[in-house]
Amino acid sequence: MAIRNYSRFVLVAAALILATIPLFANGNKESGAAASSAGSATQATGPGGYPAYTGSKADLTMWAWTSNENYSIDAFQKQYPDITVKWSNIGGGTAEYTKVLTATSAGKGLPDVIMSEYTFAPQFMEFGTFQPINKWVPQSLYEKYFPAVTLKWTAMDGKIYGTPQDSGAMTMVYRKDIFDKYGLTVPKTWAEFQTDATKLHAADPSVTMTTFAKNWILWPMGVVWQAGGKLFDYANGKWYIDFTNPTAKKVINYWGDQIKAKTVAADMWWTADWYKELNDGKSATVISGGWFPEWLQLNAKGSSGLWRVATMPQWDASNPHNGEMGGSGFYVSSQSQNPEAAALFVLWLNSAKESLTYLHDKSQLPILWAKNFTDSLAPSLMQTEYPYFGGQKITEPSVQSLKEVDTAFTALPVMDFVQSSMQTEMQKAIDGTESWDQFLQNWQDNVVSFMKKQGFNNLVVGSLPN
């Protein structure tokens, strides 16, 4: 079909195009205005002082393994009627991370919101799994609801990717019946802990003071953290690695000496054998994150009533510190088509008082990072008695533990390998074929060479940023 009158065609086409220009101009102006207003203090306020949602109807999907999230979700959907959230639990921890890695690499398949432990989030940030949400949750708004220290796990290079949910602030749960039987006092310092351990071993060699988790990276990382130290960090575009710093050596040798003396066991956690040991009273204490009481209630039902929660023993009782073992944040994925809705959801989920109450009561998360929790809600929960812990009001030591976390650092983006290389190298130290100092050195060498092989050329080995 040939064009009969070419010049007329050109004129009509040009006219049509010119006529549509005003539409484009309006569009640009609107989005330009939106871009400048979001992220400033003049953000439109919505329900309960939270930002208003300026987009159209959105259906979000989420992968998370916290139990009973649906209560918070229902409450959120009432506050933001244009947003619905569909939650799937596709497995906890590694089970979910495998799928996240695969979907990220495939370029599709990720949900809008992803739950990730703080230690694994840097890997996903580096991998390209998350997208920044500063536009809707700028740092000023973030710090209104969450302590700045948590930015080490939810942000990198100034880009905020999500919000923190529960805290893994370390507590010590102990068996009151064992302590009473052998006349042990609840240790306030690590020196007292070691004395208790020796006393217990002398009285009954089949019971150990605690079990060093030899297959869980968060344990050695946590005990070093609790001493005010760290093994790695991220700053200014570089990954810092130093496993042999003095704090790390002090802490690891403290545990190594006790393992050698057999007053402390070194074993695998999260196995059926280990839960049985806890029930049977083969371990007098468990050092773990603040969420462990919930775990214990579900997995060691046989010893209900015998456990108590205490704050951690300190290296210097006049200068308490604490570290974290675990805890998870909620992040917005890079494949999300509704990042504004997802950002508002993760903000509200982890900081709104109504949501926090559900997370504490229904999801059994004892301590949450949001300022609304520590400042407003926690005081009213202090009086709750927990039958599993013999009626103890466990919120108080748990919140105290949270308040003692005053340092933070970013984990390496290869935590899976850090953990597996730790396991193989540590077994040699446990068996006595190498010293614990040597273990730290060899482990560090393995991690550094692995990261180089994976293409990381921005490593600083042997020093740590402040």
């Binding site: 990220t104 370029g107 799994t129 030899k214 049985k276 049977d280 290389s421 994976q454």
Partner: protein
Amino acid sequence: MRKTSTLKAYAFLAPFLVFFALVFVYPVLFGGYLSLFGQRGARMWWVGLGNYASVLTDPQFWGGFGLPAFLLFVQVPLMLLLGIIIALLYERIKHSRVYRLIFYLPYAMPGIVAGLLWAYIFSKSMSPFVPLLHAFGVKNPNFITYPSLPWILLIIILWEWTGYTSLILYSTLLSIPKEYAEQAQLDGATHSQVAYYIKIPLLKNTVLVLFIFNAIGALQVFNEPWILGQLITLSPNYTPAIYIYNEAFSYGAFTHAIAMGLVLAAVIFVISFLFLRRSTREMNVHA
């Protein structure tokens, strides 16, 4: 005439060929293409044969062949020997059908269930063997340690596969004409002499095929060590297959893992090919 019969043949083969092409040929070719790229997250960049160079010079990858080599040189011959003995016994004993069923059952059991079972058997606190060992004065037995791990795997794999192997050998024995054995017995041979001089040589071809399949299985071994990984920490390269899995699903380096997988496949192919060629040459000489 011939044309229609060939067409008919292809028509019958078509469902399998389509399936095979989609599920096997296409992924291998596409994977081979992807393995020419470096990858991190959704970013990819051309590296040509860089992945392969890195795999071939990786001591971790080749170090992982230790356990498969152990299985190849210890477990496979042992299992074939046991299989032959059991198959010969199937012919001799009464109620052999019952025994054939019982020994076959481990093969029919799903791997996960078997894994859980063995985890309990080797558990320090819940194993049914622990009271037995206590009676012999062994306190706190620790079944699974790094040195004992290959032998534990040996036990588990033998338990899983010997029944199946013996059944296949038994079916080969059934195809041996009875006249051979009867003739030998008339000449005064004992049962064991019949077995050794007549039956076992005739099993050679079956044994060869079984050896190759089991060798491939040994080099690719994944399930059994993986299950034991719940009870003892394994190094990331404990077997090449576990190393490949970790590379892909724990570190997200998919294209590098593909290169590893293809190198492993090439190694297995070369070993199988050499072995097959050597044995067929022997067979042709004897024939």
